[in-house]
Each structure stands twice: as C-alpha cells, then as structure tokens.
C-alpha cells in the first residue's frame, strides 16, 4: 500500500485542485481528505456518502451549579483561564485536561466526551473516498486526521487498491504532522512568491524531521519565473525531487465553479499535459517505488 500526501505549507497554492486532477488520472486508488478543518475536496468529487460516523474527541469540563460550593480550587488550578468568575467552564478555553474534575472537593464537575465532528465513507466517480468535518472551533484535528487516514487504508485494502491519494492541510502543526507520518511520499505544491518559498522551506524541514521523502511542484510558475527557479534550486539543495511546473491557468477556478476536475472542463490544454507529466513523475519516482520496480503490474504482465 502506497500513500501520497499533497501538502504545501502555505494555504491556497492549489493542493486540492491538483489532488482532484491526480484523482482523475490515478487508476484504482482511494481518496482521502485530511484537511478536516476546512475540507474542500468533496466540492470537486461530489461524493455519495455511504456511511457517516460521529467523531468523538476529547472531554470538556461542565460544572454542576447545584453541587458547586464556589471554593475556587478549580479556578486556581486551571492554567487555561477556562473557569469564569461565576464558576462556569468556558468550553472554548477548556483544554480537556480534567485537572478541575479530579481536584474538585465537591465532585461538582462532569467531564463528558465531546462529539467533535463527523467522518464519511463515500463513493465518487474516481473511486472510494474518506473525508470528514471537524466541528467549528474544535480541537483534536490531529486525532481526526489520523482516523481518516487509518480508515482510508482499510478501505484501500477492501477494494484491493494499491494507492491512497491524500489531500493534506496547510501549515506545519498538529494536523500536518498527523497527515504525513508513515506516508510513502509527499507532493509539496509551491507557488512562486516570497511567502511560497519561505513556507516550502519549513515544510521541507518538517518532512526531513519525520523522514518522509518529499517532491516539489511549482504551481502558477509563470507568475514569477525567477522565483520558480529559486524554489527548484532550493528543493535540489534539500534533496527534494523537482516534479515540474504548472502554468497559472484560470481553468482551475472555472472548473472548480462547475464542481469538476481540470480534466473534465473544456478542451485539452497545455496545462493538462503539465499535470499529466507531473503525475507520471510522481508514480515513477524512486520514493514511490522503493524497490526500484517502477510498475509492478506491468512487470508481471
């Protein structure tokens, strides 16, 4: 089982549009949306949800006013400022550490487990898909990411699929760390801007920290050719493979408006070929084929 995770560091560089385009090119794969915080892949995949399951995250403190004596121990101990003057627990500030629950002498604090979101097992025109929706303002996004990736793996085994394509979140924090651990390889989508190259460098360091091989492609490369070259040079310095370049193409937005992937919108363009070439590079890359066997099935036949 191989899993390719598409990340970027900076948001809005084209992760989801490219993930969807790759999904249209891949054969026998399972899709996974690990950007549970602001999931968008379903807008292009229009999945038919087969099964929905609650995601139970951490617990939160709830003070029972009938039992509370107002002794103030909870407020003294809480390091997150989650206990108000009137001894109510502020759910937005509560970290779920349970210290107040354990120390309350009147056992006045409940600690119910929270429903933090929902995850879905679905079918799409490109194969099965796992996706999720984290509740608004919720924590535990890393836990939900780990869950959807595990479910995607199971689904791939059931369907005898040998590839998982995972759309990752922006940033380098908790949900990103949960998205890349144990992945076969990362595709890092970079835009040729001062912020794009800055954020890519941090994501490349993160990939190295967790020992996952990375590969870089530059999206909207023609916005700044000099920067595109600087990005590719930086990638090579870090031993990160350069996959190719994708033009700035309004067709990405237009196809998005229609809920389609790039390849389902209009006539074939030069951009189609660029994305196809990048996909071929990914599938044939040494990171995706650690045994050196480029196409296992083709070899057998």
């Amino acid at each position: 089982m191989r899993e390719i995770v598409i990340i970027s560091g900076k948001g809005g560089t084209g992760k989801t549009s490219l993930t969807a385009a790759f999904a249209a090119l891949a054969k026998n794969s399972v899709l996974c949306d690990a950007d549970v915080d602001a999931a968008d892949l379903h807008l292009l995949m229009q999945p038919e949800v087969r099964q929905r399951t609650n995601f139970m995250g951490g617990c939160k403190a709830v003070i029972n006013p009938a039992l509370c004596t107002g002794c103030g121990i909870c407020r003294d101990l809480c390091r997150f400022g989650a206990i108000t003057e009137l001894f109510q627990a502020d759910a937005l500030r509560c970290e779920g550490c349970g210290v107040c629950v354990d120390f309350c002498p009147a056992t006045a604090i409940d600690f119910p487990v929270q429903r933090c979101g929902e995850w879905y097992r679905s079918d799409t025109r490109f194969g099965p898909m796992i996706h999720a929706r984290l509740g608004i303002a919720e924590e535990n996004s890393g836990k939900l990411v780990s869950l959807v990736r595990k479910e995607a793996r199971q689904l791939a085994e059931q369907h005898d699929a040998d590839l998982i394509i995972t759309d990752g979140p922006p940033g380098i924090g908790c949900p990103v760390i949960a998205s890349i651990g144990g992945a076969t390889a990362l595709v890092i989508v970079v835009e040729p801007t001062v912020s794009g190259i800055h954020d890519m460098e941090r994501v490349v360091q993160l990939a190295a920290h967790f020992k996952v091989p990375g590969m870089v492609c530059v999206n909207k490369f023609d916005l700044n050719l000099e920067m595109t070259e600087a990005i590719e040079q930086l990638a090579r310095q870090h031993n990160v493979a350069v996959l190719g370049r994708v033009s700035f193409d309004p067709a990405f937005t237009r196809s998005m408006v229609e809920g389609k992937t790039l390849f389902e919108y209009g006539e074939a363009t030069a951009t189609w070929q660029q994305v196809r070439d990048i996909w071929t590079q990914i599938i044939n890359s040494p990171s995706m084929n650690p045994l050196g066997i480029v196409d296992f099935k083709a070899t057998i036949q």
Binding site: G9, A38, D40, G98, P170, G173, V194, H209, P250, T253
Partner: protein, 288 residues
C-alpha cells in the same frame, strides 16, 4: 482595539490585507503575525527585528529520588504524557499540554517543571509600526500556546492588527478570541465560500462583529456576494484580480506602495471597521 484578519481558506489574502492596512495607517499600529506555523507578514512589512525570545511551555520533570511510583500522575494525565513502568517514569514531552495536573497531584512533591521549546517570538518595527511574530519550531505540533504568547506581548495602547492562521479550529480561535472585530478575507470561488461559511460560524460562536474583504473579486462566481447579502455581512473592500498585483506580491511588494491609489482605500477600510464597532458599542449601551 484589536482587529483580527481571518479567512477559513488559506491563500485568500489575509497577510496582504493585514500588512497593507498597517502600512496605510502607519503610526499607532502594531501588527501581530499569529500564523505561527507559516508566518509571512515579515516578508512584506520588512520590519527591523530588534530582539527575539525563545518561548517554552512547561512540561514535567520527575525527581526519581522522591518518586514512589504511585502512578497518580500517569492516571491523571489525559494526554498520556506520563507512563510509570517499574522503577521508571517516562515523560513524553511532545504529548504534554502543560496543564500542571501531574505536579499538583504528586503527593511526594517529586514533580517540577522544565520547558519544551515551542518556538520563537520576534519583536521589531517598521518606521512607527510595531511588529511581533511567532515562529513555531519545526516538529512542534501545538500552535495555540505560542499564538497566545504573541498576543500577550501586544501593546494594549495601540491598534492591534492580527494576521490569523487559516482554518476554523483551535489555532484560529486563539487568534480571534477577544478581538473587537474580525475581518474575513475571502475569494469568490466554491472553496472560498465553503470555508468562509465555516469561519463565519466560528466568529458567531465568539459573538464578535465581522465584515468581509473579497479578494480577486472578479474570478469565480457571484455566490459569495449573494451569501454576504443573505447573512447581512458587510463587504468592506473588494480587490480585483490584477496580474500586476499578483506579480508584485510574488516579489514581496505591497499594494499601497506599488499602487498608491490603494492607500486611501485601506484607510477607509479601517474607518468603516471603527464605525461598525462604535455602532455596536452604542447598541450595547442602549440595551443596558
């Protein structure tokens, strides 16, 4: 006053709006970059960094001389950051949320605290504009504690403009909570609208007034405008897609500096925000 600039979807122009508003207003402004995972505001503001500070979060340190291996700490810890195995206590620093529960529960006083590095705080200025950013250590998972440290360092006497991270979960809440106004930057595409709706839900949960900036306003479709109208969200500024703006951005140049006619529009944006906050203050006073 605190204005937090957020978006839901990444890459819609939060940093562009925060930096350009700060530059247009000039003196009396402090810009906080709270996108600590991928801080970018300094690349555009170009501040002179005057000092930096390493930021740590407390994690337990167990004195095995005093420890009786009673397991009260590991039983209390909800994050599995402590494990007692025979005559050893394993501390998994990266899982610790710094709640201090283990230290409070230990009957032997065997637990003190040491620090885990969260990242760095950088303080600087660009002319009369103050600047603070947080930079999360690569490999560190928890950004909210660092975001809170950036905010705690702000000068309350000045207008605070916060460049928030993308998303709708805990890091964004940490960057929006307690603000006087949330400025949502979006783009008129299905992704932009979908994530905007989630972000607006989060803002409503916090009960903070908000308004929109629509960036690249002429790409995509009309649905964001229809949504804003339906929800009564004021559109305070629209920025058209202009390849010259995109190219200037790619080189780290700012709209108000490259295209001076924009300066007054960002000043007006701030004026409109002040008016909304003032109107809300009056409404609250009347209600009382």
């Amino acid at each position: 006053m605190i204005i937090s600039v957020a978006s839901g979807k990444g890459g819609t122009g939060k940093t562009t709006v925060s930096v350009n508003m700060a530059l247009a207003l000039g003196a009396g402004v402090e810009l906080l970059d709270c996108d600590v995972e991928e801080p970018n505001a300094h690349l555009f503001l170009n501040p002179v960094i005057e000092r930096s500070e390493r930021v740590e979060t407390p994690v337990p340190l167990v004195d095995l001389e005093k420890c009786t291996f009673c397991r009260k700490c590991s039983t209390l810890c909800r994050f599995n950051a402590l494990a007692v195995v025979a005559n050893k206590v394993l501390v998994f620093q990266e899982l610790c949320h710094s709640c201090g529960g283990c230290m409070a529960v230990c009957p032997e006083g065997a637990i003190t605290e040491t620090g885990r590095e969260l990242g760095t705080l950088n303080f600087g200025t660009r002319g009369s504009i103050g600047f603070i950013n947080g930079q999360l250590r690569v490999g560190e998972a928890m950004s909210p504690p660092l975001i809170k440290r950036v905010r705690a360092a702000a000068d309350p006497e000045r207008l605070t403009i916060i460049d928030a991270p993308p998303g709708t979960s805990c890091p964004v809440i940490a960057a929006m909570n307690g603000a006087d106004f949330i400025l949502m930057v979006t783009e008129p595409t299905p992704f932009g609208l979908h994530d905007l709706k989630l972000a607006v839900e989060a803002v409503r949960l916090l009960g903070i007034p908000c308004g929109l900036v629509i960036n690249r306003a002429d790409i995509g479709d009309n649905k964001v405008f229809e949504y804003a109208e339906r929800e009564g969200l004021p559109i305070l500024l629209t920025i058209p897609f202009d390849r010259r703006i995109a190219e200037a951005y790619s080189r780290g140049k700012n709209i108000v500096e490259e295209f001076p006619e924009w300066r007054e529009r960002f000043v007006a944006l701030h004026r409109d925000i002040e008016a909304i906050i003032a109107a809300k203050g009056k409404a609250v006073a009347c209600a009382k």
